[in-house]
């Protein structure tokens, strides 16, 4: 462990000048991968992810076919060059777990029963990583699903809150990420006021967790609006697809 230097949070300002409950800059786009049935791009500060959706379509391998609902395949992947240290290509235990929780979160808003015996494939690529990659990937995938015209109950928005130097902050990033004591990524659906993804690590008191969850939900509402805007922007003029 390196010797702790100066404080990260000074007078309520964080290393990158943000307030405690302020999110990084957001950029969202729909329709960035032409071959796909739907696609999305999401940037949160320096974390960038793209997602593509193929389907509902024929599913391989066949034994996964479900006679009552569509089968959702989800692959979260980090590009080898997306972090300081190169990531070995191929699935890792971490990416396997993240793919699983993202798949559950997104499946919950899809009308899967409408498409029995088919597959819906979601591919998420993290291109550049600076914390919250699962949230940014999920946000991109949510846009991609809507862009693909897959019937959805609502968009899923995701962001993280955390604890840095004993203070609850929104959207941990940069230096805070290494020093952070707690990380709480969530995915939230505003219209239903329900949480579909929730993970937490680090020692936290019950009251602090409530505060963090509250803050993350507020963050998700901001992201939700950006996702909607991105889709409206893409479909301002009716495009022949």
């Amino acid at each position: 462990m390196s010797v702790k230097q100066e404080k990260l949070i000074v007078n309520g300002k964080r290393p990158d000048g943000r307030k405690l409950d302020e999110m990084r800059e957001i950029e969202a786009k729909a329709g960035v991968i032409e071959r796909a049935d739907g696609s999305g791009f999401f940037r949160l500060g320096n974390t960038i992810a793209v997602a593509a959706v193929y389907g509902p379509k024929e599913l391989h391998p066949k034994h996964l076919l479900d006679p009552v609902r569509a089968y959702v395949k989800c692959r979260y992947n980090m590009a080898p060059f997306s972090t300081t240290e190169r990531i070995r290509p191929g699935p890792s235990r971490r990416s396997t777990e993240i793919s699983k929780v993202i798949k559950s979160a997104l499946s919950s808003v899809l009308f899967l029963e409408e498409y029995p015996e088919t597959g819906i494939e979601i591919f998420i690529e993290v291109l550049q990583a600076d914390a919250s990659t699962r949230c940014v990937g999920l946000n991109a995938a949510s846009i991609a699903l809507a862009d693909a015209g897959v019937p959805m109950k609502d968009l899923v928005a995701s962001c993280a809150a955390g604890k840095v130097e004993g203070q609850i902050v929104l959207d941990v990033a940069g230096e805070e990420d290494c020093e952070g004591e707690v990380d709480l990524p969530i995915a939230y659906v505003p219209r239903k006021n329900e949480i579909y993804l929730l993970q937490m690590d680090g020692i936290v008191k019950k009251e602090e967790l409530k505060k963090a969850l509250d803050m993350a939900i507020k963050g998700c509402k901001v992201i939700y609006d950006k996702q909607k805007q991105a889709l409206k922007c893409e479909y301002k003029e009716v495009k022949a697809k």
Binding site: M1, S104, D201, K206
Partner: protein
């Protein structure tokens, strides 16, 4: 569709406030922990939760530390859902379920700082102890996460550190030094069935689970890990309620089975 009829049956039962074995929604099945089950392991525990049987073994080996933590030993948690435990499990590379199981248990132990990893360093940057926790599921009758979490910490508490001979080989005779464990993290998973919160479902009940939330608690107010699974959402209020139940149940388990 037999399975669908089965899940509907379970849901109707839960709606009517009933369970197969007349338990309350927040009651666990009988929990038994048999420590020191495997002689050749540095630590082990056989956990029986109802008919769910899990054997957890701890092995220690000499290894290199990670470059970003040269003064710390390494913790590795692995889970095997082999075909012996259920006709639904297949041999082969770990599937997402076993990876998630291992990582949720791992997070609970790691984040609670239960293991003093610095005490496992022999030569900074060169030689440290690697603690391998292997979760071996022998019979799946539901609620593998909670049973594995209890088994893992019980096995770690049972573990002893081998002596190193001059030539670097390990001496496992008369191991006296206990592995230092300072916390007892316990995972408690709240399952939603027919909109109700239910603890410790057996396999039949588990087939009807719509969503789950695992909360790993350390004591009466501190948490160290959480994991949501399944497709059904939780409102913020439900999350808070789940935390309260988990803290209460975690405390009961610590008191009854770990004397803490």
């Amino acid at each position: 569709m037999i399975t669908e009829i089965g899940t509907e049956y379970v849901k109707n039962m839960i709606k009517a406030g009933k369970r197969f074995d007349d338990r309350g929604f927040e009651d666990l099945r009988e929990l038994k922990i048999e420590r020191g089950y495997v002689q050749n392991a540095e630590g082990s525990a056989m956990v029986t939760l109802g008919e769910t049987k899990i054997l957890v073994g701890v092995k220690m080996k000499v290894g290199e530390p990670f470059p970003d933590s040269p003064n710390e030993g390494v913790l590795m948690v692995n889970a095997e859902l082999g075909p012996i435990a259920s006709p639904d499990f297949e041999s082969g590379p770990p599937d997402p379920q076993s990876v998630e199981l291992a990582r949720v248990v791992d997070r609970g132990i790691r984040e609670s700082k239960a293991i003093n990893t610095e005490s496992l360093c022999m030569e900074p940057g060169e030689k440290v102890w690697t603690v391998c926790v292997d979760i071996h599921v022998l019979n799946d009758d539901g609620n593998l996460i909670d049973a594995s979490s209890i088994g893992a910490i019980a096995a770690l508490l049972d573990a002893k550190v081998p002596e190193l001979n001059e030539d670097g080989t390990m001496n496992r005779e008369n191991m006296k030094k206990k592995l230092e464990i300072s916390q007892i993290p316990v995972a408690c998973t709240i399952h939603k069935i027919a909109g109700k919160m239910v603890l410790d479902p057996n396999l039949r009940e588990e087939s009807a689970v719509e969503g789950r939330l695992t909360v790993t608690s350390m004591d009466s107010e501190k948490l160290c890990a959480m994991q949501k699974g399944g497709e059904c959402g939780f409102t913020p209020e439900e999350v808070y309620k789940a935390i309260d139940i988990s803290i209460k149940k975690g405390g009961e388990i610590r008191k009854k089975h770990f004397g803490a």
